[in-house]
Symmetry: C2
Subunit: 183 residues, 2 copies
DNA sequence: ACTTCTAATAGCACTAGGTACTAAGAGCGA
DNA sequence: TCGCTCTTAGTACCTAGTGCTATTAGAAGT
């Protein structure tokens, strides 16, 4: 690896550990062509914990968060719910939601937020999506907060029509009509 | 903790470590009221790795699973790709994809597989979803293998129409029309 | 040229949570 | 009593560190 000064090395160190948390000080020292001690001093200066703590952090994160993020009933944070009428959820776009190159959110996350809200708004044991028509109005970038609003337009028997709009601040980024069924 | 024989203790040990993998030998010894050495012998006999390896395993699971599940370019396994023409991917429905109560796959996972394929099929740096019209034909259950096929119907300038169908064996479960844009 | 400062390096003692191995005592059936 | 299992104890060693001190290399100031 090319020579660099302290500042640059520390920046790159932060980025590297962020993307590959499973590297020992020794492996890091090899990559940056400095001694292990230098890496330790850098970590100390940057407040980066040791390997085992990093591994533990990743493990604990998964152990609790992932399960609730991907398997929870509603994608995002449910902040208002009036069953069979209206629901609002908020989803903050993090690195796991975006194309790494462009930092633009992948479409299915907006769909997931909207779909799970359209399903969750209906007061029934089992609700499944029948059809959906969605339009992406503008790209959503890393760090933006998606406010998703679902409104029940029609509710007849086991079929419901739900309109969903997603905004960033007052900017419409996504809208869709969902037809969902209860069983 | 109540006294027990070796067999019972080892059974309970397996169960305990399975549900709480973050316990040290010392903590385990306390719980079972035996010496640390006994716990070590038990782990050895049962083939249970040490704490650090257990933590690492949990961490690696998340690190690969989450990245490949949530952040990979195509959701599912890409098994055929003819750019700007046709693409096929396979997604096996696991516990993380279903409503825990009904074991039916949540709609947005089928959408995600279809959407990411519709985007990935186009030969361009940046491709974004414009609109989508999707229909869910029948519920998909835990353990089923979704075979998703995307076909480019029209490609004019920066806009493309992609038809997507998803089947379980020969059974159509999902179909959609996507309009995607290149930038 | 000499001092001063910083960055980098080296060495040592110590820690947690182990592995691998040896040794020894308790309890029990034949 | 012998033989056997189970349990406990102890030692040496390992990894991936922390924390501290001492030393060296290079650049900057005067």
């Amino acid at each position: 690896m090319a020579a660099r000064n302290k500042k640059q090395r520390q920046q790159e160190l932060t980025a590297l550990i962020d993307s590959e948390p499973f590297l020992t000080d020794e492996e890091l020292a090899d990559r940056f062509e400095v001694s292990v001690q230098t890496i330790r001093l850098d970590r100390l200066a940057l407040g980066i914990p040791e390997l085992r703590e990093r591994i533990k952090a990743v493990a604990e994160q998964n152990y609790t968060e992932v399960r609730s993020l991907e398997s929870s009933e509603v994608i995002g944070e449910l902040i208002d719910l009036d069953l069979n009428k209206l629901a609002i959820s908020i989803l903050e776009i993090g690195p796991e939601h975006v194309f790494s190159r462009t930092k633009i959110a992948r479409g299915h996350h907006l769909f997931a937020q909207a779909n799970s809200l359209a399903v969750g708004i209906i007061d029934a044991e089992t609700v499944l999506t029948g059809t959906a028509e969605v339009r992406y109005k503008r790209p959503v970038k890393l760090g933006e907060r998606l406010v998703c609003k679902a409104v029940v337009k029609e509710l007849r028997g086991e079929r419901a029509h739900v309109d969903v709009t997603t905004k960033v601040r007052d900017d419409l980024v996504f809208e869709g009509q969902f037809v969902v069924f209860t069983m």
